[in-house]
Symmetry: C2
């Protein structure tokens, strides 16, 4: 908790109260619990909680306009809430607790329909700063070598260009993205579906430690919370919301990464998807997102920057193939140029050029003159050929 | 030349004259010769040719409104034109000559800004019939095994669904597309940039013979004409125009196949492009066309049919991943379902479900009841678990 020195007792009191209320909600309600959200919309964070407590203490019963017993709904979890213990627990697992509007809070999260009650952050970096210029890279757990390599090099190149990499620390593309960022000496943030005290998946405990050292490991569910499926879906909206844009690198048709894309689309954030072979089932989700117009096909870091970067600042250079000797030629000059033989082969006189190119002698001579002036053809005696 | 028995002498005379004029233009002017096109726009096919002949016979000089000497331009080639010999030559190489509006003429070609003067066709099939329901498949000469295999299987599957395959008989994707069609016992058409008497590339003479047996080999340039670059570009517009839609399978950034795409776009024809690994330079052209919005990403024959087929008749089925046991679950049921342990593990009583899912006992029981009714969970004593 940050408490600037200039704070009065009153504001400090408010902050403490805000913290207490938010930590309680985080402990009793799932991130996207519809009933909790409705109560809060109606009465605000604090009063909604008071009503829940009142309902419990008077032994249940219904509030007007709410068709379920709100006391009964939250009683089981509320009985275990202890804000002081939450603070101790956060300190014990090395996490700071961030609240909306306070230093360190990634302000992009406020654009969510349901922003987190709070964030637990374990790491060396301020999430607010790291998210400011960041790209989320998400994708399949069962990724291929191709996908891992691309996710990793994409992450590394984007870090070289001053972006942080946001992902979810899962197997496959997530891990490759974090590793690419780490290898490039960049910043990377992992949003978890469980408490920041848990290493999930367990085999990523080293990776998570490195992410914390070079960025932050974040969660909206309190320490101790298990990684449930609904929490993954909720977590995905944070990955989509925290960054400037999202890139999907390999995802099957049923990949959870597609929910991250949906969240990013709902937030009007740019979404890119990397294509792959049509024979690869873990590229099928990417192809579907591109086909549906939800994602833009991207093939490299420059195109991701073009998609996500500040206008004008990060435009991808146009892609050109190798230079060819007839580049820039058109019309009669191209027609004459291509009739002529390559260097070392027999030349052609004007009459032959005229007939083969289907031009008048005047046109042929004029085109030959222009081609000679630009150094593309040369004449030896009466014979013309390419340079 | 088809001459229905009911023709009067007069119409027959007109047909013969049309044939003579068109064969002459085909011999003296390149397919997209701007001067020839301008003369014809101004005076029509026949009168424009008469003016060229007049200009030559009076020894040159300029027509009003045309800034070059039209006699001089066409004199060299016109001196060699002999319509009777053209007919003999066509017969000798086993080709029929098709003219716009006559039987066998693929009427889609009339949508071109510069339709061919005539078409030489060598083969067993009527190009008009074969083009009616056809897809063009084009791409890189320097294709990969992946591209060849996809082009081939795409062609085969489209043939199975009653499409003919149009391409250009080049190395790589073109050849793979023709071969895929042939292997499926389908119809395939090859548009050449040279005369239909020439096997270009030479190593494709067997392939071209097979295409002729199972479709047709076509060209707008007369027998004997060499494959010049401008003729390839002109030929590409025929490939784009002759079919319902075009699919690009592998193309480098500078591939000629991209000109086919441009022609198809200019004709408002649907264009698909197959993605590939971003590391493959011969997929870079496909990715660029998709990024630029000129082509739609397609991954299989169903999606090509969806893109090119008749509305309603050929819609691609939506792509679904494998069925999962929590499919169709949402809200509280999903929350309860995912708290429960898989079959074989320890069950949970309602109190535990209430706490872990963060629900009231009533909500938990009601969700468990619905899950039991749909056969997804079962109860043993007081313990609930997944089925």
């Amino acid at each position: 908790m940050s408490e600037p020195a200039t704070d009065t007792e009153a504001t400090r009191g408010q902050d403490v109260d805000d913290l207490r209320v938010r930590l309680t909600w985080a402990r009793i309600a799932e991130p996207q619990d519809k009933l909790a959200r409705r109560l809060i919309e109606q009465w605000g964070l604090r009063q909604a909680l008071e009503r829940v407590q009142t309902s419990i203490s008077r032994g249940g019963g219904k509030e007007s306009g709410i068709e379920v017993d709100i006391g009964a709904r939250f009683a089981a979890r509320l009985a275990h809430v202890d804000v002081d213990r939450e603070l101790e627990m956060a300190a014990k697992v090395g996490a700071v607790i961030l609240l909306p509007g306070q230093p360190g809070w990634p302000s992009r999260l406020d654009e969510l329909e349901h922003p987190p009650w709070a964030l637990w952050s374990r790491g060396e970096q301020s999430p607010a700063v790291a998210c400011h210029r960041s790209i989320s890279i998400v994708g399949a757990r069962a990724s291929t070598h191709y996908g891992d390599r691309e996710a990793s090099s994409l992450a590394g190149e984007l870090c070289d260009q001053g972006f942080s990499i946001v992902s979810g620390a899962a197997y496959g593309i997530d891990a490759a993205a974090h590793r690419g960022a780490l290898a490039a000496g960049g910043r990377t943030l992992a949003f978890l579906a469980c408490g920041v005290d848990r290493a999930y998946p367990a085999r990523h405990s080293n990776l998570l430690a490195q992410v914390a050292e070079n960025g932050a490991v974040l969660s909206e569910v309190p320490p101790g919370a298990a990684p449930l499926r609904t929490r993954f879906l909720a977590r995905n909206r944070l990955i989509a919301a925290a960054s400037v844009g999202t890139v999907m690198v390999e995802a099957g048709l049923r990949s959870g990464a597609r929910s991250t894309v949906s969240e990013a689309v709902a937030l009007n954030r740019p979404v890119g998807a990397l294509p792959g072979p049509v024979t690869s089932m873990v590229s099928a989700g990417c192809h579907e997102e591109i086909r549906a117009g939800r994602a833009v096909l991207v093939t490299d870091a420059a195109e991701v920057r073009d998609l996500c970067g500040a206008i004008g600042e990060d435009l991808a250079p146009p892609k050109n193939g190798p230079h060819r000797s007839h580049d820039g030629l058109e019309g009669l000059e191209l027609r004459v140029w291509e009739c002529l033989r390559p260097p070392g082969r027999r030349g052609m006189d004007v009459e032959e050029v005229t007939r083969v190119a289907g031009l008048s002698a005047l046109e042929a001579l004029s085109a030959l003159g222009r081609l000679e002036a630009s150094g593309r053809v040369r004449r030896e005696g009466l014979q013309w050929q390419r340079v």
